[in-house]
């Protein structure tokens, strides 16, 4: 069974890069361009793992995590935060919100997939 | 020639033959869009003598060349007895004024001979090869060479 990834990022470029990396690694790729759409997509796609940007219009990444964790979904699927800052504050905040892990942009293929593998057990 | 051995199964090429300046020419049928009677054209300023003008072909503006004049074989009379062959190559459509259209010629590729060694480099460029039909010789026109404006009047 393929692992379904839902990527939420407002940058088309980042979404494209994620698609190439993830589809190349055998994931089933789904995407949304902001937090609100991301939460909607979550219910529809029922992904095995979520990757979300922090800075987004409509609903930011923290909002996404909080909604997915505490909203009607109450999901425990891994949620990975994509961030350009690697500061400890941000990581702690993401963890407090319920994030499972984080990936620092710009990511390379290997680290992206290995983080996903660590958190989902996905095998190609 | 190796081709001769394969002749029975060889693909046949179809050409439409026509006369211009009392010589016999042909164009491959796939390049020809239609053949129509001559109708007056709109003259273009500052163009060589072989460019007769432009004609409206279902909304497209296409230039009409006098093939005889282009090959320095005199001037074709622009009257209703003469015909315009509309031909296209690589997205460009043009019309060629000729005296008359004669027949459809179906020959294998091997029947097309190399252009005899003639002096004029330009004329050699404009003719892809020749096909002998009975007593006469039909010249295969290189449409791209006609389309190429740089050649204008230089033949």
């Amino acid at each position: 069974m393929t692992t379904k990834v839902l990527a939420i990022d407002d940058s088309r470029t980042i979404r494209n890069l994620l698609r190439v990396s993830l589809e190349g690694a055998g994931f089933e790729y789904h995407s949304a361009c902001d937090g609100v759409e991301g939460v909607e997509q979550f219910s529809e796609v029922e992904p095995d793992v979520v990757i979300t940007d922090i800075n987004m219009p409509n609903m930011d990444g923290f909002g996404v995590i909080e909604t997915l964790r505490n909203g009607p979904n109450r999901t425990t699927v891994p949620i990975i935060v994509l961030t350009t800052e690697s500061g400890p504050d941000l990581k702690a905040r993401a963890r407090d919100a319920g994030a499972t892990g984080w990936i620092v942009k710009p990511f390379d293929d290997g680290s992206l997939v290995s983080v996903l593998r660590r958190l989902t057990g996905h095998v190609v | 020639m190796l081709d001769v051995v394969e002749a029975p199964t060889e693909t046949q090429f179809e050409f439409i033959t026509f006369s211009s300046g009392d010589q016999s020419f042909c164009l491959e049928i796939t390049q020809i869009r239609e053949i129509r009677r001559w109708t007056p054209v709109t003259k273009l300023p500052h163009t060589p003598a072989d460019v007769l003008g432009v004609m409206n072909l279902r909304g497209a503006v296409i230039p009409i060349f006098d093939l005889a004049s282009r090959f320095s074989l005199g001037v074709t009379a622009d009257n209703e007895r003469n015909v315009v062959i509309v031909a296209a190559s690589g997205g460009t459509t043009i019309g060629l004024l000729v005296e008359s259209v004669s027949e459809i010629l179906s020959v294998p590729k091997s029947a097309i001979q190399e252009t005899p060694d003639i002096k004029s480099e330009a004329a050699r460029q404009a003719i892809l090869g020749v096909i002998s039909v009975g007593e006469s010789m039909v010249r295969v026109v290189n449409l791209d060479a006609v389309l190429d404006n740089d050649m204008g009047g230089a033949v």
Binding site: I14, M56, R69, N73 | -
Partner: protein
């Protein structure tokens, strides 16, 4: 999708982000306290940085980073936005745009301005020590090769490490997850898998805290583990495995000092069960409650996913759009053009039949005509784009111009969403830039003078776009001093553009600005540019089938109005005859038509001829002769003169045979099947199906009538002969 096409998308996206940035900055100008706006600006810069990082565009990344960091301080209220900072933000936005462009075109950006702005930005950051060191690495995407190497076999890993320098150590790990660990989507098994990759792992689950079945709460974390890992890796590597669960569990890692690699693996700890992490779940198989709080159990307990979130219908995002190959649109436009010609031809043919009682038919024909026009408008709308990006670019021009002149100016835009043909937007950029610069440079007064006059010290340049009666109106208005008409008149006489005795109306004086040669190098400030005058603007607009006019009132300012046709596929033209041929000349290029009086005509030399128009002598060009057509002779006595301005020789009178009609014509390219013809811009098909050439006055006057068959140097034919 290739890396190149992702790169292309990135630059496309940058365009949009830069647009959003400019928009956000001008909104900040109004209200810098609006955090939605500040956030939007921050996001735009941030997204550019994020994408640029992926393509190793280092300079772009580090500039965006500094810019973003300052913006973040504004966001977190650490810095207050004042006029200076606002100005710096605008310049930073411009610089960012330059860097994006340079990166796209793969060339070196201007380092000088970049460094200057960076320095100013950094000044706002103060002590850089508190800034976290920002690093980034290039992304390497190998699309062909399998991107990851999965090696789940710990034994093999151990074998690989056998030759490594560091000796194998044994680590004792105590791992006690909290409920939050599960809630955050972690799965202990996966952590153990990661550890198993480092060496030989033994896992022991401590089930002593498992309550009775009745008391079991699946959201509690009641199992903890003791693990033993034999590995050559450093302790830090082990901590890395637990990086994401830090603070979500109690974790102790210690080295077993008594361990030597020859020693047997320690026996299982009593009270638990030993399992191999690689084979079985960490929970114990023979315990009924072993389906303890793993994520899966929690999931089955949770409410099924609802659509509640999806039903939130906030208005957001752009309207859905469709990306279409431009070529397809243009093909459709061509076909519609043919439809319109076809309709005109049918109408004309039916008229010629002179049928009795054609009322019905006429109605149907009229309906056909309207439908064809509707389709044409609909198709042209596909090519239409809002003028917003074009207008936004002008804010930079105003900024640069006000900086260079020391005048204070702000740009106000109106009707940003007005849509204009794509080509119009592209070709209007230069004329508009020039006019906006002029407006600041020549239109506005200095702040002091403005204050003296009781005006706002900051001058305003108002750029507006609107659709009116089938045309596009673009206005460039300044609230400056207005045109200095006496000075314009004086200059025009000085330069011999008009006779000293000429009596001109105000409008005629204003229009002198459009004469070639009016604006000369001596009076062109370093700003208004390379000796480009308003005549060039006028020609560029005329080339689009439009016209420019001026309105000015002393003390209140000057307004330039550009009127353009809605579409480029059709044009308003005069149907004229030239040496027995029917041709079309664009109405937009014609200033006026003159039926000359013999007394106004004067000869110079044997062929030169001029006409006096309001005291100035205007050269006459015989169109037929310039086109090398015979039969022009009779036009000398009976012809009509069309007054045009041209780039090459300014005001010129074109002599044509007669004007027959004024109508809209569909423009047909000659170049697609033939090539450029000097003096002719395109062709059109008239109602009778005949082709009429559309004249290009600018090129027409350049043709030398003395050598009618000479081709201009630009024609390939000519070059070939010289070669």
């Amino acid at each position: 999708m290739s890396m190149n096409s992702i790169r292309d998308t990135f630059f496309e996206e940058c365009e949009e982000l830069l647009e959003a940035l400019v928009e956000g900055l001008s909104a900040m100008e109004e209200n810098a306290e609006d955090m939605d706006v500040v956030n939007a600006v921050f996001r735009a810069v941030h997204s550019i940085k994020g994408g640029a990082g992926a393509f190793a565009l280092d300079r772009l990344v580090s500039f965006a980073h500094t810019f973003e960091t300052v913006m973040d301080k504004v966001r977190s209220h650490q810095i207050k936005v004042d006029e200076d900072l606002m100005h710096l933000f605008h310049r930073s936005g411009d610089q960012l745009a330059d860097l994006v462009e340079a990166a796209r075109d793969d060339r070196e950006p201007n380092a000088e301005s970049e460094q200057a702005i960076l320095k100013e930005l950094e000044a706002y950051l103060g002590d850089t020590d508190e800034e976290e060191e920002f690093t980034f690495e290039a992304m390497s995407l190998d699309l062909d090769a399998a991107p990851i190497d999965i090696d789940m076999d710990g034994d093999e890993r151990e074998a690989d490490d056998a030759g490594a320098e560091s000796a194998v150590k044994s680590f004792e790990i105590s791992f006690k997850p909290t409920a939050a660990l599960y809630a955050n989507g972690h799965e202990p098994l996966l952590l153990f898998d990661a550890l198993a990759e480092l060496g030989v792992l033994k896992v022991t689950a401590n089930l002593s805290r498992l309550p009775d079945f009745d008391a079991f709460d699946p959201n509690d974390a009641v199992i903890d583990w003791r693990l033993t890992l034999e590995t050559a890796e450093d302790e830090t590597v082990l901590h890395e495995v637990f990086e994401f669960v830090d603070s979500l569990c109690e974790l102790e890692i210690s080295v077993d000092e008594t361990f030597s690699s020859e020693e047997a693996i320690p026996p299982a700890i009593s009270g638990g069960a030993t399992t191999d992490a690689k084979v079985a779940a960490p929970a114990v198989a023979d315990t009924p409650v072993a389906t303890s709080p793993t994520p899966k159990a929690a999931k089955s307990e949770s409410a099924p996913p609802t659509k509640q979130a999806a039903q939130k219908d906030e208005p957001r995002g752009p309207r859905p759009t469709l990306r279409v190959d431009l070529e397809r649109v243009d093909r459709l436009i061509n076909t519609v053009g043919e439809l319109i010609i076809n309709q005109a031809m049918i109408s004309q043919r039916i008229e010629e039949l002179e049928l009795p009682a054609v009322a019905h038919l006429t109605n149907e024909l009229e309906a056909y005509k309207l439908l064809a026009r509707d389709i044409q408008e609909g198709v042209m709308a596909i090519r239409a784009q809002p003028v917003k990006p074009l207008f936004q670019r002008m804010s930079r021009i105003v900024r640069e111009a006000s900086e260079a002149t020391g005048k204070k100016a702000k740009l106000v835009t109106v009707g940003d969403s007005t849509e204009v043909d794509k080509t119009v937007i592209e070709r209007l950029a230069d004329p508009l830039t020039h006019m906006v610069r002029n407006a600041v440079d020549h239109g506005l007064e200095t702040s002091d003078k403005r204050q003296e006059a009781g005006k706002d010290p900051i001058g305003s340049i108002r750029l507006s776009a609107s659709h009116r009666s089938g045309s596009v109106f673009i206005e460039i208005a300044d609230d400056g001093a207005g045109l200095n008409r006496p000075r314009i008149l004086e200059k025009a006489i000085e330069k011999g553009l008009i006779g000293a005795e000429a009596e001109l109306s105000e409008q005629e004086i204003d229009n002198l600005l459009f004469l070639p040669g009016f604006s000369t190098a001596s009076e062109v400030s370093n700003l208004s540019g390379r000796g480009v005058g308003m005549d060039v603007v006028k020609n560029a607009v005329a080339a689009l089938g439009g016209r420019v006019s001026i309105a000015s009132s002393p003390g209140a300012g000057t307004t330039f109005t550009i009127v353009l046709p809605l579409t480029l596929a059709v044009m308003d033209g005069f149907v004229i005859s030239i040496a027995d041929q029917t041709m079309v000349i664009p109405i937009a290029s014609i200033i006026e038509t003159i039926r000359p009086n013999k007394k106004d005509l004067h000869h110079i030399g044997t062929t030169g001829e001029v006409i006096s128009v309001r005291g100035a002598y205007v050269p006459i060009v015989d169109v037929a002769r310039n086109l090398g057509l015979s039969g022009g002779a009779k036009e000398i006595s009976s012809g009509v003169l069309l007054l045009v301005t041209t780039e090459a020789q300014g005001l010129t009178a074109l002599r044509v045979g007669a004007i027959h009609d004024q109508r809209q014509v569909v423009i047909k390219s000659l170049e697609s099947n033939y090539g450029a013809i000097p003096g002719v811009s395109a062709a059109t098909i008239l109602g009778d199906g005949k082709i009429a050439l559309i004249l290009d006055p600018d090129e027409l006057v350049k043709l030398n009538p003395a050598a009618p068959y000479m081709m201009p140097a630009s024609a390939p034919r000519m070059e070939l002969r010289h070669a």
